[in-house]
Symmetry: C2
Subunit: 356 residues, 2 copies
DNA sequence: ACGCGTCCCGTAAACGTTTACGATCCTATG
DNA sequence: CATAGGATCGTAAACGTTTACGGGACGCGT
């Protein structure tokens, strides 16, 4: 056999078949691991495919079997959510891929433009049938996207819970737990007047975080004071602003809970401008652990989680909802509250004196 | 005609055709704006498609015309590059989409997993024929991906220049210019001993940045001292480390150029620990303008650019290389060095005394 | 009456796969 | 020997589009 055609055109499975002098059907079966094919011919086919660099045309395959083998992760680019910063999504993506790739499922990210309605964007993507299933993020408290996906019968999982009527699968960080642990810890250190910062309560995260905080206070018999809830952006400036507003209060808090560790930089600065030293005069606890949290002085007490593993969890929830994979990923519950672990620093390690 | 079937199955263009009692070919032509169709029937078809929610199946269309109408933006998730932080990619993506969407081209992001070779990943994506064209980022100084794409004849543009033999299209931030302007400005303020921080010179950015710096010094008749080039990570810790290394030098620099504004936070802290005050005892200039740059004290002198517009530029370069769009985006040159603008702060605003 | 051009539309063939079905060969069993 | 049945393979029909091609209807000029 002549050794020509190393990198020739390779039009498709048909050429591969006649190069091997085998029927096109057998080649397809060989490539896809179907049973009705001699092991030796399968070897030959795979070898030839490798050598000629043949890869099945995705369009043809999709058209025939109605499936694309692509999973979409829809993201927005609003700056309001804490998740946007850093490489939150890329880390989660890593976890997602680590399980999806095992099933030859490719992950793509679908970035919804600023100026387009996420609902309309999603509708287009769904209609185009470019993905088999979806992961949607930055869910709002009421989010039409759930109904759309349910009606279109396309499997999905949400990164972030919602209050939608239909029970849909989701995984979400345990912001409730974070707020609880933070309050518990601060109360144990003697604090009674604890402030919190959070994004707008329209964003689900903002709602849940403050709810957890409120209930934790209640549990400790501390009155909930709306003045201690500061809505701010999740940035250094946001932190600065939080400190600024807190300093204006008549009864100043002795502790503050932040939603994003970058805010601590601004908060530290602002309170120090006022002669107040974090970790001595005011306690600070923050979601979410990042290298810079330990870099601050005093080191920030914060909450850690593995976003990679959260991605794994999301992928498993998603696959459990796809008929082709559901027996491989059986599940009792398809809603996960993802735990976080408190990493003690020195920003809240002092004990408050008895006197209020 | 019965008003049923508002949200019925809608199998495809065939159903739409027989619902309208028109041939399938005409429907297709009507939808795609082809000439050979009566304007009135076109109206009818469009109305019916809208009402029934019909959208062409992408697989079928792709199969037939060999094009997917999807553009891919390949990204990695290495933390070594400055571009990874913040929402660099999301901002560029916005610019890309603003022009691509006008041509009904959808943009998807292709995240290459940590543990996969970018070259192999790209090969898979190309072979799958999931995108018509590609934007690749985080290019290395020698990058096999260019040859792969050239051989596969798939249009692409690189975000970041390279030294590949084949002349490929790219757009890149003007790091050379940044280094030049920074040096010029610092020299004008009386500095002669100027340090610089950059990522590894394997990354193209690291190479170019330092090269620009070296040539600028030369131009001013200042000797290039390798001890003043600090390779560090683009993070707070990196900035801290840079300061740390600089403080160890016998002849300490009076100014430092950073590659990433977040590094300034760490650098500020470290030098202040040593009793050195930024903006008074040492000048700091940094790429790249971000909200936090103005938030620092003293406010950081840095370089600004519109990443959105960079995305627009990238998209136009890309389209100019695609036969179907090239007449709409004629171009003389398909390589762009994207300018940045210096935003003066107070971190380098002092004049150095004559004595060295 | 005839030819010709224009406008619109229907027909059918492709695009590259997968897969149901049937055909062939071979072996084992009665 | 006859038959059953498993192993392996070839054939052809789908999947939903787009588009080249041809044809009918009509108007207009000769």
């Amino acid at each position: 056999m002549p050794q020509e055609g190393k990198t020739q055109s390779m039009k498709g499975i048909r050429q591969l078949a006649e190069h091997l002098d085998i029927s096109i059907g057998t080649v397809s079966r060989a490539l896809n691991g179907k049973p009705d094919v001699n092991e030796e011919t399968r070897k030959r086919v795979l070898a030839a495919a490798e050598q000629l660099g043949y890869v099945a045309n995705q369009s043809g395959r999709s058209l025939r079997q109605g499936t694309t083998n692509v999973i979409g992760l829809m993201i927005q680019s609003s700056r309001e959510t804490v998740e946007n910063s850093d490489n939150f999504f890329l880390t989660v993506t890593g976890g997602l891929q680590s399980v999806l790739l095992r099933h030859k499922l490719d992950l793509i990210m679908l970035p919804c433009p600023h100026d387009e309605d996420p609902y309309e964007y999603l509708k287009r993507m769904v209609a185009r049938r470019i993905v088999d299933a979806l992961i949607i993020s930055e869910t709002h408290r009421v989010d039409k996207r759930f109904d759309l996906l349910a009606k279109a019968k396309i499997p999905f999982v949400a990164l972030g819970r919602s209050l939608s009527g239909t029970q849909h699968p989701w995984a979400d960080l345990d912001f409730d737990g974070v707020a609880n642990s933070a309050v518990d810890r601060l109360v144990a250190h003697g604090h009674r007047r604890i402030a919190i910062s959070a994004p707008s309560s329209d964003i689900n995260l903002g709602f849940i975080f403050v709810e957890g905080y409120r209930r934790a206070l209640e549990r400790h018999g501390i009155a909930y004071d709306p003045a201690l809830v500061i809505r701010a952006k999740s940035s250094e400036q946001g932190g600065y602003q939080v400190a600024d507003e807190l300093l204006r209060l008549k009864e100043k808090p002795t502790a503050v809970i932040l939603i994003y560790e970058l805010m601590a930089i601004g908060l530290y600065r602002r309170v120090m401008e006022a002669g107040i030293i974090p970790g001595r005069d005011i306690a600070v606890v923050s979601f979410r652990e990042a290298p810079r949290a330990k870099f601050l002085q005093p080191a920030l007490t914060c909450f850690r989680t593995s976003l990679h593993d959260l991605g794994v969890e999301l992928a498993e929830i998603l696959l459990s909802g796809m008929p082709a994979y559901s027996q491989e990923y059986p599940r009792k519950t398809r809603q996960t509250i993802w735990p976080l672990e408190l990493i003690p620093g020195e920003s809240d390690s002092f004990q408050l004196m008895a006197a209020e």
